[in-house]
């Protein structure tokens, strides 16, 4: 008996309880926090066994003959689940502070959908085959839709259309097709080390299939299917922070990693011509998104484009198809998450205190909100990939992978984008601390509410801690990359 069933049941039960407790804000918030904590505990108890090579399995249902909805825990999923559930606890603390400070409405719906999103994320993390992964992927799109459109305004509705249109469109047209094609070729959808597709079709066809996967997984926000992510920024900040910097987008790249490792297999991936082309697409995405980020004045939009760029790293690392690249990508999922969630938390904290959303309005804000902006500065370093932040470690491995593979284009893209990252984040820090406050200096806002600060501090510490103690990451990631490393 493992904790696996609980990891799936807890968020679901939490979502139902939250709806029941909708009349009582205190109970509702307590239930949310308790759910998040319990979920993290359940996931954490699974971890040691998985470290030692256990692969707990659970079959949920069999929607199609021979194709079950099945959960299997493996290192990559474990990493993703640990990350998402830990950050959910922190985000819950944050959102209690945030949503109350902004007097947001319909909170029961909000928290309930949030719990459902985490449920879908857990389902994705633990999915034992492609079908299960796809099912929870779609569920995640649908349950985050009410969160994106939470404001209920015309703008939210329009963004919701883009969000849903792109995510459902790519997944139905490309991804589902790819999955059914895989089923037809291989006769199985189970995740198998070394892949299931080897020798089933010509390299050209397999290349098409790979492209269908990479573009079909719209959540990985590879250009030209990235528009949904900036659109989703209309959502309340906790949603942008946890879902659109961690759960949803990381779900996308996680899916790509899974496909690369367990469906194609690294060896097959390295042979395909198409991998090269997709690598260039990823490199282009990294650079273009970073360039667009430079020009965004809205802080959240700037962060969103930065996320697109960073997701490009992970896709690129995966497509390098060597051990270091895969390890780097897997770790980057976690390290980028800590950094980016901190940045979003800061953006939200600024919004709560000053109602400001534009970078150009932030002059001198570092003086009134030193802690918030301090965290922002550290997280900015993380985005650039400088020590002592955890991103340095993962980026290091991606660099190693690039050098191993001898990809000059990718190397150039990485170096250039590092400069660009500095270019769009450091000016924010500079403005906040060194520019004189503008006309409206009379603002008597102070530091952010304590709940927000607490959450901020935890993620910032996480960014630093993972630099000094990357063992757990390395251990999980190296299990992935195969017994050789």
């Amino acid at each position: 008996m493992t904790a696996l069933p609980f990891a799936i049941l807890i968020p679901l039960a939490g979502a139902v309880l939250i709806v029941f407790a909708r009349q009582h804000p205190a109970i509702r918030d307590t239930v949310t926090l308790a759910t998040a904590t319990l979920l993290f505990a359940a996931v954490a108890t699974l971890a040691p066994a998985v470290f030692n090579g256990a692969r707990p399995t659970l079959t949920l249902a069999e929607p199609l003959p021979g194709l079950a909805l099945q959960l299997t825990v493996e290192p990559l999923g474990m990493l993703f689940a640990l990350l998402a559930s830990l950050l959910w606890v922190i985000t819950t603390i944050y959102s209690i502070g945030y949503m109350r400070a902004l007097h947001e409405r319909h909170l029961a719906r909000f928290y309930s959908c949030f719990a459902l999103s985490l449920w879908a994320t857990m389902g994705m993390a633990f999915a034992g085959n492609l079908l299960t992964l796809f099912v929870f992927y779609e569920v995640l799109t649908l349950v985050t839709y009410p969160l994106v459109t939470h404001a209920g305004t015309e703008r939210a509705k329009r963004s919701g259309r883009i969000y849903l249109g792109l995510l459902l469109g790519t997944s139905v047209c490309f991804l589902l097709l790819a999955i059914i094609w895989t089923w037809w070729l291989a006769g199985t959808l189970d995740f198998t080390r070394g892949g299931i597709l080897h020798g089933t079709a010509s390299p050209l066809l397999l290349g098409c299939l790979l492209a269908l996967y990479v573009f079909g997984i719209g959540k990985a926000a590879l250009m030209p299917f990235h528009r949904w992510l900036p659109a989703a920024m209309v959502a309340p900040t906790p949603v942008s922070a946890l879902l659109h910097a961690v759960a949803v987008v990381k779900g996308g790249v996680f899916f790509i990693l899974k496909v690369a490792i367990y469906v194609f297999g690294i060896d097959l991936l390295a042979e395909l011509q198409a991998t090269q082309w997709l690598l260039y697409v990823a490199a282009t995405t990294i650079l273009l998104a970073a360039l667009v980020a430079l020009r965004q004045d809205n802080l959240k939009l700037r962060l969103a484009y930065s996320t697109i760029s960073q997701l490009g790293y992970i896709v690129l690392g995966t497509l390098l198809a060597n051990a270091a690249g895969i390890m780097g990508s897997a770790m980057h999922i976690a390290t980028h998450a800590f950094g980016k969630i901190t940045l979003f938390f800061c953006a939200g904290a600024i919004l709560v205190r000053t109602r400001k959303t534009l970078v150009s309005e932030l002059a001198g804000i570092g003086r009134s909100m030193p802690w918030t902006m301090g965290a922002f500065a550290i997280a900015s370093l993380a985005m650039i990939g400088m020590p002592p932040t955890a991103v340095f470690v993962s980026k290091w491995y991606i660099f190693l992978g690039v050098v191993d593979a001898g990809q000059l284009v990718a190397l150039a893209a990485l170096l250039l984008s590092t400069l660009l990252n500095a270019g769009y984040l450091l000016p924010v820090v500079y403005t906040a601390f060194f520019d004189a406050p503008g006309e409206a200096a009379g603002d008597t806002h102070g530091e952010a509410p304590p709940a927000i600060l607490l959450a901020l501090g935890m993620t910032t510490l996480g960014t630093l801690a993972l630099f000094f103690f990357p063992d757990i990451l390395l251990a999980l990631a190296s299990q992935l990359a195969g017994p050789g490393t």
Binding site: E62, P63, F134, E138, G152, L164, L168
Partner: protein, 485 residues
């Protein structure tokens, strides 16, 4: 059984009594159908000779897996809709006619079941006319005046179709000298290649296509669905086109044989083109409808396209997909129309404008509509996904790439029209001048609606019953099972 109940309803000239009798009758029919399916799944063929005349002269009733499956869905939907009908009928139909309504409803159900159960082509024609005439009457009973013209339109189209079918049957009788399906099937190979047989086939196909509302013979359908009483729409949409589809299968496979239909006649390509046109034209037309019933009617035309597409693929998987979609579409369409019926009951209209803000005032009804809509789109964990999976798989098996993509694209069109409803219901404030205050629909209407919605989910998560039955039915049709070898 329902045929017996019809005159009883008329005799019992009291509303509730008539309702009670018809409910009892239809549920008994459902129970019998379930038993028959159980037997048929074991491979039995149940045959009953009406009036004790042996099959060659008398009328034989013959149930194999194909009709058992169809019987189950028709009687199931018929009885579920009846449970729902009491309040809705009370409101929408002039009180004095209510017993008459139930009597005609029973005739219609009886006719449909008769079509499915009989083993004699002329008898099939008679039952088909019973049910068609009854459904003209049902549509005309609506208080909406335009219902009369649309019933008249339907009557004319339906009669033309019936005439075609009758001519086809007549030609068959001429060639083989028998009306029993088994006998015709045995004697046909001897005379195949004969132009008369080909003409008979053409007449039958066209005639049935009218009843089936296959593009371009669909013109009667949108009006008939839009102006009929809600209950009738739900019932007819889920059953009568399905029965026509069953008849088509019977004639094509059991009587003429698959090889005749696809090798001697260019049916595959004709059906393929028509199906694709239906899928796209139907969905696009649905997007531009303001009346929701009409919208769903056009979506039905598109869905019929999917079923025909399944046939045109001319493979076991394609046929399985078609039969599966027959079942699944009946479930989702009836659920959707019942949900609309709830709206109509409260508001008296189902235009886009009235839907505004209904997400708040009728949460359960709209939630049912949303789930039904998701099923129509083909989101995983609903029945729509299962059908779509099989259809795409069948298309890939044949190597028909563009078709597979077309199926998926068409399902994206469904997202558009369903989402228009969702945006109206959840994002727009109720119209100010609405004098009717919307409340949640009564429980007796909500429960059957939700029962169907749950069936949608159940058969989407555990489809073993439907997929096995559909696969067996497809095998049975292809091998012309039940023929004395």
């Amino acid at each position: 059984m329902p045929l017996l109940a019809a005159p009883l309803c008329l005799l019992a000239n009291e509303r509730r009594f008539a309702w009670g009798i018809s409910v009892a009758a239809s549920w008994t029919a459902f129970a019998i159908a379930a038993l028959l399916l159980g037997q048929a799944l074991d491979g039995d063929i149940v045959s009953y000779e009406l009036g004790g005349w042996s099959a060659r002269w008398g009328i034989e009733y013959r149930v194999d897996i194909v009709n058992a499956f169809v019987l189950l869905i028709v009687s199931g939907i018929g009885s579920m809709v009846l449970l729902y009908a009491r309040l809705s009928v009370q409101q929408e139909i002039y009180a004095g006619r209510v017993p008459l309504f139930y009597a005609v409803y029973m005739l219609c159900l009886g006719g449909l079941l008769g079509v499915a159960i009989t083993g004699d082509v002329f008898n099939l024609f008679v039952f088909m006319e019973i049910s068609s005439l009854a459904s003209y009457a049902l549509i005309a009973m609506s208080e909406e005046r335009r219902a009369l013209t649309s019933a008249y339109q339907y009557l004319i189209m339906g009669t033309i179709g019936a005439t075609f079918i009758l001519i086809g049957i007549g030609l068959l009788y001429m060639m083989t000298g028998t009306l029993n399906m088994q006998d015709i099937a045995q004697r046909l190979p001897a005379v195949s290649g004969n132009h008369t047989v080909e003409t008979a086939f053409a007449f039958l196909t066209v005639g049935i296509s009218i009843k089936l509302a296959l593009v371009p013979l669909h013109l009667w359908l949108p009006n008939a669905y839009a102006y009929a009483p809600s209950v009738v729409t739900a019932f007819i949409a889920a059953t009568s086109t399905k029965i026509a589809f069953y008849v088509l299968l019977r004639f094509m496979y059991t009587i003429f044989g698959a090889s005749f239909a696809f090798q001697n006649m260019p049916l595959s390509i004709i059906f393929l083109v028509l199906a694709l046109v239906a899928m796209f034209a139907g969905s696009v037309a649905a997007i531009f409808q303001d009346n929701l019933k009409r919208m769903l009617a056009y979506s039905s035309i598109a869905q019929i396209g999917y079923m025909i597409l399944g046939i045109s693929l001319a493979s076991a998987t394609g046929l399985t997909a078609a039969i599966l979609h027959l079942f699944n579409h009946a479930l989702m369409k009836s659920a959707l129309f019942l949900a609309l019926g709830c709206v109509y009951y409260r508001l008296g209209q189902v235009n886009m404008e009235q839907l505004r803000g209904l997400g708040r005032s009728m949460p359960w009804t709209m939630a049912a509509f949303v789930i039904g809509g998701l099923s129509l789109i083909g989101v995983p964990l609903t029945v729509g996904f299962i059908s779509k999976w099989y259809l795409v798989l069948a298309a890939l098996e044949q190597g028909w790439w563009p078709v597979a993509v077309a199926i998926l694209l068409a399902s994206l069109l469904a997202v558009v029209y369903i989402w228009r409803v969702i945006e109206a219901a959840y994002f727009q404030a109720p119209a100010d001048n609405s004098d009717v205050v919307a409340r949640e629909a009564p429980l007796s209407m909500l429960l059957p609606t939700w029962a169907l919605i749950i069936a949608n989910l159940y058969f989407g998560i555990d489809s073993s019953l439907t997929t096995t039955a559909a696969a067996q039915a497809a095998q049975c049709l292809l091998k012309m099972c039940g023929l004395p070898q």
